[in-house]
Amino acid sequence: MTDLVNSVNPGSDTSPLEGRPARWRSNGSLLLGLSILAIVVAMAIFAPLLAPYDPYAQSLPNRFTPPVWLPGGGWDHILGTDQLGRDYLSRIIYGSRISLSIGIGTALVSGLIGSTLGICAGYFGGRIDSVIMFVVTARLALPVVLVALAIVAIFGSSFTVVLLTLGGLLWERFALVTRAATIQLRGADFVTAAEIQGATVPQVMLHQLIPNLANAIVVVATLEMAQAMILEAALSFLGLGVPAPMPSWGLMIAEGKAQILFEPWLITIPGAFLFALVLATNLLGDGLRDVLAPESRN
């Protein structure tokens, strides 16, 4: 016995974790996405410190001041002012809070709904699976934007309504991914081992399944976040997203559209920020998938 005890050494050269830092570092899209996202997150957190003006403070004499690089612009308002004379930079900075919280909030709500349904469908199978898959199919048949518009039109537009609506609609990818992964894990011997030991269904899910699904869920969450931010902007653009005067980037684009021929920067500046944020989130999602769950690449 003692020779066995002394001889076994940790087979550290087989550690999957060891390869991680290298994979993190060498993944360009992950790094780019992460850096852009970090900047936006910093903007959102430190908005009161960074913003030069109150984003709601109107100053009608100063309407439509162009940004600093255009003739007539000045360093007082680096990104100019809007139709009510509000500082555009301050509104952009505060706007990041809305985009991010909609993105994260939606991912949380839809992740909770989708993962619960997906895990149940995959674990129980049979009739429960059929019913859940029918709900997923039905959900896929719904045009997201139209349904969101209808709901917002009924309940009135507010931040909470937009968040819950999007969260209630964007869960199908969570459900499909977790269901497929759960079906695979369901047959793994370690799940059977826990069942033999008398683990209850919630215990099996919590201890054995979810830790193995976490990576896939995180990846889907980032992708859904990007989706939600775009949809929020679209809803706000249509006037049914977060209500004015909140500084949502989508709302800013909508407010600028009347001036599109004369002051195109009113649209391009929030548009560029929205583009950068969504791109960064998508890059992060792709990069995370490569690092955390390369098996789910398709």
């Binding site: 020779d3 066995l4 001889s7 050269d13 290298a22 994979r23």
Partner: protein, 323 residues
């Protein structure tokens, strides 16, 4: 000499550096001869076989002094000239028959396709040959089987079909990588016997890769024992089973539960684990697990001659004889 491999080394680029999977491996196979490559998982036996057909992953770098097949130099032969060899003059049988069969085509279609790809024959002639071979690998009513899809067959039948497929073009060399480990023991014995008979009838050379020493003792003419990417012992089967010279070979033989071993008494086990192939030090690779390791084992050692055509990579080879 049918196949001659000299100084074969394979490096794999991984995220954690270069992994030396195979190092300076040499062996040869003659016509009608069975060479068994024996070793445990990760010893480099399978990748050695794949390299002969040039089926290595893209991250692999191969170097060798010689790899010659008959008069062909496999080392320098362009890819376009290798392809017609595969499945034709050089065949391979894998452990998992399902991976070798296309689930979308009937067995008959797949068998005839092999022949049609390499020889100018009519489809009818090819089908005739397929029937003939299925009978030879012990499948009754072959006409019926040819119409079936792989999923309709049992594991044993599938592996028989894969063997028939490998034999369609009457190859000169057949490489079998653990072809029977996934099968029931009775079917395993039956298939091995068949493979051996066909080999002798057709005068094929065979490289048989396995970790099962009992099996090796029954079919091998010559044996190469691999450990951590290196040949640690090579020689005629009789010599290796009668006088195993390397401590690893001896330990492997002692570890197999065998009717000759007293029941319920401890088997000989090899303590420890295989060293990492990432950072090779300049010592005997088996030193850490060897019951007879000494200070002198800290030096690299080349293959030492034990007897006629029998070598072992152990410093004690000469010393023991003189005792």
């Amino acid at each position: 000499m049918l196949l001659n491999v000299k100084g074969l080394s394979i490096n794999l680029a991984t995220q954690r550096g270069t992994l030396s999977a195979v190092q300076d491996v040499s062996f040869h196979v003659d016509k009608g001869e069975t060479l068994c490559i024996v070793g445990e998982s990760g010893c480099g036996k399978s990748i050695t076989a794949l390299s002969l057909l040039r089926l290595l992953p893209a991250s692999a770098r191969l170097t060798a002094e010689t790899i010659s097949f008959n008069d062909l130099d496999l080392l320098t032969l362009p890819e376009a000239d290798i392809r017609p060899l595969r499945g034709n003059r050089l065949s391979m049988i894998f452990q998992d028959p399902m991976s070798a069969l296309n689930p979308l085509h009937t067995v008959g279609r797949q068998l005839t396709d092999v022949l049609l790809a390499h020889q100018h024959v009519t489809r009818a002639k090819a089908a005739e040959r397929a029937c003939e071979l299925l009978l030879k690998v012990g499948i009754p009513n072959p006409e019926e089987r040819l119409q079936q899809y792989p999923h309709e067959l049992s594991g044993g039948l599938r592996q028989r079909i894969v063997i028939a497929m490998a034999l369609m073009c009457e190859p000169e060399l057949i490489i079998a990588d653990e072809p029977t480990t996934a099968l029931d023991v009775t079917i395993q014995a039956d298939l091995l016997r068949l493979l051996k008979e066909l080999q002798q009838a057709l005068g094929m050379g065979m490289i048989f890769i396995t970790h099962d020493l009992g099996l090796v003792s029954r079919i091998a003419d010559r044996i190469v024992v691999m450990y951590a990417g290196e040949v640690v012992e090579a020689g005629p089967a009789s010599a290796i089973f009668e006088h195993p010279a390397h401590p690893y070979t001896r330990a492997l033989l002692g570890a197999v539960p065998d009717p000759s071993h007293p029941r319920m008494e401890p088997l000989e086990s090899i303590p420890g684990t295989v060293p990492s192939l990432l950072s090779r030090d300049k010592t005997c690779h088996f030193r850490g697990r060897c019951p007879m390791a000494q200070d002198i084992c800290n030096n690299r050692i080349s293959l030492q001659t034990v007897g006629a055509d029998h070598q072992a990579r152990c410093i004690r080879v000469g010393a023991e004889d003189s005792q």
